[in-house]
C-alpha cells in the first residue's frame, strides 16, 4: 500500500490520521495505530473519548472526515465490501433479535454470510457458548450475560479474521465478564485479530497484547503493558498486606466454577 516497509507483513488494522467531527465536536483529531495480525488490541478511554467512533469507522458504519484506514489489507474508503467480508462487529448494545430464538439468530447470520450448513454452524456455536438449553428460547428472555455471549457467537460465524468488540463487558456481572474474557482469549489463540474497546483498566491489562489510550480524540500512549509501565516512574517497593478485592470475594462466594474452563 505505502512505498516503504518491504517484507513486513501487512497489519490486520492500519489507521493513519483519522479525524471525525460531529458538527463542532471534534471527536477524533488524528488517530494513528496499527494492530498486528492475531493480536488483541485494547482501546482504552473514558466515555466520550471516541472509542465507539473508531469502531464504527473501521466497521464501515461511519465515514471518516479525513485520514486513511485499512482492515485486513483492504482500504475502508475504496473496498468497503471486502472489509465487511473480513470483519465482525459486536456493538456496545447486544444486537440480537429478541423475538427470534438464540438458534434462529445464529442461523440467520449464517444464511446472510452464505455459510454452508447454517443449522450445524448454529448448533456448534450454541454448544461452544453454553447456550444449548437456551437455544430454543427467545433471546428476549436471556440474561445480559447470555445475550452478550449470543452476540459474540453471532460475530464468529464465517470466521472473520478481524473482530471488533465495543465495550464487550459493560453492564455485565463479574461472572459474565470473566466468561467474555475467556472467549476473547480463545479467539486470540485461534489467530483472530481482536480490537476491543473498554473503560476498565483491568480488562485491558488482562486481555490485551497491546493497549492504546485514547484521550480527547488522540492516542496518547500505545504499547504493551510492560512498555507502558516503563514510561512511568519506577515503582517503589512497599510491603502491604494484600486484601482480596470485592470482586475476588464475590467470585469466591458465588463460585466461578459453575461455568466450564474459567480461570480467574
Amino acid at each position: 500500500m505505502t512505498t516503504t516497509m518491504t517484507q513486513r507483513p501487512e497489519p490486520a488494522i492500519r489507521v493513519r490520521g483519522l479525524t471525525r467531527s460531529y458538527k463542532d465536536l471534534h471527536v477524533l483529531r488524528g488517530v494513528d495505530f496499527e494492530v498486528p495480525r492475531g493480536s488483541v488490541f485494547a482501546l482504552l478511554g473514558s466515555n466520550g473519548a471516541g472509542k465507539t467512533t473508531i469502531v464504527k469507522i473501521l466497521s464501515t458504519l461511519l465515514r471518516a472526515d479525513d485520514g486513511t484506514a485499512s482492515v485486513n489489507g483492504f482500504d475502508l474508503a475504496t473496498q468497503p465490501d471486502a472489509v465487511r467480508e473480513s470483519i465482525s462487529l459486536t456493538g456496545q448494545f447486544a444486537a440480537v433479535d429478541g423475538i427470534l430464538t438464540g438458534r434462529e439468530n445464529l442461523t440467520l447470520v449464517a444464511r446472510l454470510r452464505g455459510v454452508a450448513n447454517p443449522g450445524r454452524v448454529a448448533d456448534d456455536l450454541l454448544a461452544r457458548f453454553d447456550l444449548i438449553e437456551a437455544g430454543s428460547r427467545r433471546a428476549a428472555t436471556y440474561s445480559g450475560g447470555m445475550r452478550r455471549r449470543l452476540d459474540i457467537a453471532m460475530s464468529l460465524i464465517g470466521q472473520p479474521s478481524v473482530i471488533f468488540l465495543d465495550e464487550p463487558t459493560t453492564g455485565l456481572d463479574p461472572q459474565a465478564r470473566v466468561e467474555v474474557w475467556r472467549v476473547v482469549r480463545e479467539l486470540a489463540d485461534r489467530g483472530t485479530t481482536v480490537l476491543l474497546t473498554t473503560q476498565y483498566l483491568e480488562e485491558a491489562e488482562h486481555l490485551a497484547d497491546r493497549i492504546a489510550i485514547l484521550h480527547q480524540g488522540r492516542i496518547i500512549a500505545n504499547g504493551t503493558l510492560a512498555e507502558l509501565r516503563q514510561r512511568f516512574p519506577a515503582a517503589t517497593v512497599e510491603y502491604v498486606e494484600k486484601q482480596p478485592s470485592l470482586e475476588e470475594i464475590f467470585l469466591a462466594i458465588v463460585g466461578n466454577d459453575t461455568r466450564r474452563g474459567v480461570t480467574p
Binding site: E85, G91, D97, R138
Partner: protein, 254 residues
C-alpha cells in the same frame, strides 16, 4: 453475483420478519379492528341514511375500508423498521457483507404479506355482514394487483417515516393522515353532495380513483379511464416514495 446475493439476503431477512409476524399475530388483528369497527358503524348506523344509488351499502363501502386497512397496516412497518434501527441489529447487518437494500426490501415485502392477511380478515367480516360480489377471477386478480401496488407505494412512505423518526410513537403516527384520506373521498359517500372546494379535493386525490376502480371491478362494471388514474397515482407514489426512502437510507448509513 450481486443480484444472487441480494435475493438470498432478502429471502433470509424476509424469513426473519415473517417470524416476527407469526409470533405476534395480534398485529394482524390490531390492524383489522379499526376498519372492522368503521365498517360496522357505517353499515348499521350511518349507511341507511346515505344514498349511494346502490343496493347494499356494504358493497359501496368495502373498497374504502380496504384502503384504510392498508394505511393502518403500513404503520407497523415503520414501527418495526424503527425498532431495528434502535436495537442495533441494523448496524450488525450493515457491517456484514449483506446487500445494502436487502434489509429494507425484507420489511417492505413483510408489509405486503401482513397487510394482505389483515385484508383477508376484513373480507371475511364483510362477507359475514352481507357483502357479495359476482366478480370473476380476472376482476379479483385486478383488485389484488391494485391493492398490492397501493400497499407497496404506501409502505415506501412508511420506510421514510421509520428511518427518520425520533421515537417509536412518531414512527407509528405518520400514517394517521393516510388513514384519514379516504374520509374526504368517494369511499363513504358520493362526492356530488360535497361543497365545491371539498368536492374538488375529493375528486382529485388518489383515494377516489382507486376506490372507484375497485368498486367497479367488484360490481362487474366497466372501469373506464379511472383505472389509469388509479394506477398512475399508485406508481407515482411508489416511485417518489422509493426514491426518497433510498436517499434517507443512504443518509442514515454513513
Amino acid at each position: 453475483m450481486m443480484t444472487t446475493r441480494f435475493l438470498s439476503n432478502t429471502v433470509a431477512l424476509l424469513g426473519r420478519s415473517m417470524r416476527h409476524i407469526a409470533r405476534s399475530p395480534d398485529t394482524i388483528l390490531t390492524v383489522a379492528i379499526t376498519p372492522i369497527a368503521l365498517m360496522l358503524l357505517f353499515t348499521y348506523v350511518f349507511g341507511g341514511a346515505i344514498d349511494t344509488g346502490t343496493n347494499r351499502y356494504v358493497d359501496y363501502l368495502l373498497p374504502g375500508i380496504l384502503l384504510i386497512t392498508i394505511a393502518m397496516g403500513i404503520s407497523y412497518t415503520a414501527v418495526r423498521l424503527f425498532a431495528d434501527m434502535e436495537g442495533g441489529i441494523f448496524e450488525r447487518f450493515q457491517s456484514m457483507p449483506v446487500a445494502r437494500s436487502s434489509p429494507l426490501w425484507a420489511h417492505v415485502l413483510t408489509s405486503v404479506v401482513s397487510t394482505g392477511l389483515s385484508i383477508a380478515v376484513i373480507l371475511l367480516v364483510a362477507l359475514l355482514i352481507g357483502f357479495r360480489s359476482g366478480a370473476g377471477p380476472l376482476a379479483w386478480l385486478a383488485v389484488t394487483g391494485i391493492l398490492v401496488l397501493f400497499t407497496l407505494a404506501l409502505t415506501w412512505l412508511a420506510v421514510i417515516a421509520g428511518l427518520s423518526a425520533k421515537s417509536v410513537e412518531g414512527a407509528g403516527a405518520f400514517s394517521y393522515p393516510l388513514v384519514f384520506l379516504p374520509f374526504i373521498s368517494s369511499a363513504f359517500v358520493p362526492t356530488d353532495t360535497m361543497p365545491g372546494p371539498v368536492r374538488a379535493f375529493a375528486e382529485h386525490q388518489p383515494v377516489t380513483s382507486i376506490v372507484d376502480t375497485i368498486r367497479d371491478l367488484l360490481a362487474q362494471q366497466a372501469v373506464g379511464n379511472q383505472v389509469w388514474v388509479a394506477l398512475g397515482w399508485c406508481l407515482a407514489i411508489l416511485v417518489v416514495g422509493y426514491a426518497l426512502a433510498m436517499v434517507t437510507y443512504r443518509g442514515r448509513l454513513a
